[in-house]
C-alpha cells in the first residue's frame, strides 16, 4: 500500500506542467461545463456583484445627475450621522429585542414538536398532525398579517371576544407598541414551528434503533429515552440551527415587520430593515440608506463568524 502511494507521488512531479499549460488543458477538458454555467455566472455578476459595486455610495454624497462614480466622496459622514442620530439605539434595541424574543420562544418549540411527533406510534395520526402543522408555512406574509388584523381586531376579533367573555377589556394588539413583539413572535411560531420541526424529525429518524432497544431492555421509560437518547442524538442539529438563528439576529425579515407596522406601534415595530426601506425608498436619502444597510450587513457577517467560531470551539459543530 505504502509503496504504491510512493510511486504515484514520485511520478507526480515529473508530469507537472507549467501553470498556463495546465489551465489550458483544464479548459480543453471542461469548457462545456464552463459554457453551461456561463449564463448563471453572468446573472450573479449582473444582479449581485454590480450592485455590490454600488455600495460605494455609502461613502459618497450620491446625486442622481452625477451617477455613482461621479458623486463626491464624503468619508464616513453618513455612518457618523446614523450612529449619533436619535434613531440609532431604538432601532438596535427593537431589532435585537425582537430577534432574541423570537429565538427564546420560537427556537425550542420545533424541537419539542419533533420529539413529541417522534413518540407517536400511530403513523396515520402522525402524518395527519404533520400535514396540518406544515400548512401555514405556505401562506403568504400578506395573508398572515391580514389574518392577524382580522383575529386581533378590538371590535370583533375572536381573541378579543374571548377576552371580553372572560371579563377583560378588549386589547388593540396591533395598535400598541407594547404587544407588537409578542404578536410578531407568536404568529411566527404559528406559521413556521411545524415546518422548522422537519429537520429535527429527520435527525430523530436517523438515530439507531439499537439504542432504544438497549434502553428498553434496561427498563428505561419514555422520559428517560427522550432525555438520554433523543436529545443527545439531535444535539448537533440543534446547535447548527441555533448558530444560524443567532447569526441572523440583525437580519430580521423586512416584509412582516413592514406589513405589521402602523403609526401606533411604530415605537416597537421600527427595525433596521424597515428603516432602511423608509429612508431610502420614501425619503430618497440614497447614501444614508446605503450606509445603514452596509453597517447592518457587516455586523451580520461579524456575528455569523463569531457564533460559528464559538460553536466550533465548544461543540465541534460549525457551518464551515
Amino acid at each position: 500500500m505504502r509503496g504504491k502511494t510512493d510511486t504515484i507521488n514520485a511520478v507526480g512531479p515529473v508530469f507537472r506542467k507549467p501553470g498556463i499549460y495546465r489551465v489550458r488543458q483544464a479548459l480543453r477538458r471542461d469548457w462545456q461545463l464552463l459554457l453551461l454555467c456561463s449564463v448563471p455566472v453572468l446573472y450573479f455578476i449582473m444582479f449581485h456583484y454590480i450592485p455590490m459595486y454600488g455600495v460605494q455610495i455609502a461613502f459618497k454624497d450620491f446625486k442622481a445627475v452625477d451617477g455613482i462614480l461621479g458623486s463626491q466622496w464624503c468619508g464616513f459622514k453618513h455612518f457618523q450621522r446614523f450612529f449619533s442620530s436619535s434613531q440609532f439605539w431604538p432601532l438596535i434595541k427593537n431589532t435585537l429585542g425582537l430577534s432574541f424574543l423570537q429565538i427564546l420562544l420560537g427556537f425550542p418549540i420545533p424541537v419539542l414538536l419533533a420529539i413529541m411527533l417522534n413518540q407517536t406510534r400511530n403513523q396515520k395520526f402522525r402524518k395527519f398532525v404533520q400535514s396540518i402543522v406544515y400548512c401555514p408555512h405556505f401562506i403568504s406574509i400578506v395573508v398572515l398579517t391580514g389574518m392577524l388584523y382580522i383575529f386581533l381586531s378590538p371590535r370583533n376579533g375572536i381573541i378579543n371576544q374571548v377576552i371580553q367573555m372572560l371579563g377583560g377589556d378588549p386589547v388593540f394588539f396591533l395598535g400598541d407598541a407594547k404587544y407588537f413583539k409578542l404578536t410578531f413572535v407568536i404568529s411566527g411560531i404559528w406559521q413556521n414551528a411545524g415546518w422548522s420541526a422537519i429537520i429535527y424529525i429527520a435527525a430523530l429518524a436517523g438515530i439507531s434503533p439499537d439504542l432504544y432497544e438497549a434502553a428498553q431492555v434496561d427498563g428505561a421509560n419514555k422520559w428517560q429515552r427522550i432525555w438520554h437518547i433523543d436529545i443527545p442524538g439531535i444535539l448537533p442539529t440543534v446547535v447548527m440551527m441555533l448558530i444560524l438563528e443567532v447569526g441572523k439576529v440583525m437580519n430580521l425579515g423586512f416584509q412582516k415587520a413592514y406589513l405589521m407596522q402602523n403609526a401606533q406601534n411604530l415605537g416597537a415595530s421600527e427595525i433596521i430593515s424597515t428603516y432602511i426601506y423608509k429612508v431610502g425608498m420614501i425619503d430618497a436619502q440614497y447614501s444614508y440608506s446605503a450606509a445603514i444597510n452596509l453597517f447592518n450587513n457587516l455586523v451580520n457577517i461579524l456575528l455569523l463568524v463569531t457564533v460559528n467560531r464559538i460553536a466550533k470551539k465548544t461543540t465541534n459543530n460549525s457551518l464551515w
Partner: protein, 303 residues
Amino acid sequence: MTQEKKRLHRSFKTQAPADRLFDIINYLILVLVAVCVLYPLYFIVIASISDPVAINNGQVSFWPVGFNTTGYEKIFENTKIWRSYSNTIFYTVVGTTINVVMTMMLAYPLSRKNFFAKKLLTLFVMFTMYFQGGLIPTYLWMNDLHLYNTPWVMVLLPAINVFNLIIAINYISNNIPEELYEAASIDGCNHIRYFFSIVLPLSKTIVVVLILYYGVAHWNEFMNGLIYLRDEGLYPLQLTLRNILLQNQASGLGDVDSIIEQQKAAELIKYGVIIVSTLPVLVIYPFLQKHFAKGVMVGSVKG
C-alpha cells in the same frame, strides 16, 4: 418506519403506567396543537360565506351562519384583483421556468468534483449569501438597466436562490455518480449532451422540488413588487392583497349603495380574497408537502 423500530413499540396495554400516561398527554397536546393551527384557517373559510353581521356579533365560530356569497361576487367583479392574479400567474410561470433552468445549469458543473473551476465558482456564488449590495444600490442598478417598473424585474432579479442551488448541487452529487459520466464519455458523450440526456432525466425529483420551492416563492412574492413596480397594472397579487387587507381599499371596489353595505362587503371581500389567493397553493398542498419536506432532507445532507 423500519421493521426494527416497529418491533420496539410495545402495545399500549403492556406499557408501564408512566409510559401510558406519557402517551396520553403527548397525544392530547398534539391534538391541541393541530386544532390551534387549523382553526384560524377554517374560520376564514366559514367566515367568507357567512353573513357579516353574524361575524361582527361573534356568532360565527364552528359553521357558517347566514349563507352568503356577496364577498366572492364582489371579488369576481373586481378587475384589479383579476389583473394582479393574472400578473402573478405570469410571474410564477415564467419566473419558475427561468429559476429551474438557471439553477440546474449551475448546479451540474458545481457538483462535478474534478471541474477545475468548481472551488472558485462555489466561493463566487456563496459570497452573495453573506454580502449583498443592499436595497438602494440594487434599486439604482435596476433603474439603470431600465428594468424598473417592468415585469422582467420580477422574473430576472430572483433568478437563482443560493439555498435552492445548494439543494440541487447536493442532490446531483449524491445521486448521480461521477463514474457514470466517465462511462458515457468513453462512448463519446460530452458534458452538454450528458447534462440534457442523462443528468436532467435522473434529476426529476429535484426538479419537482425546485419547481415547488420557486413557484410558491413567486406566488407569495411581495417585496420586489413593492420596491420595483409603480404601475398598478403590473402589481402582483400580494401587493393588491395588501391594499385590500391592510389598507382598507376594498371599500372603493364595485358599486355598492350605502356606506354600511359597503363596509359589510369590504369585510366579506377580506375573507374571500384570502381564500381566492391561497387556493392554488392549498390545492396542490398534499403534493407540495411531500416534496417540500423531501427538499429539506436533501438540503441538509452535505454533498
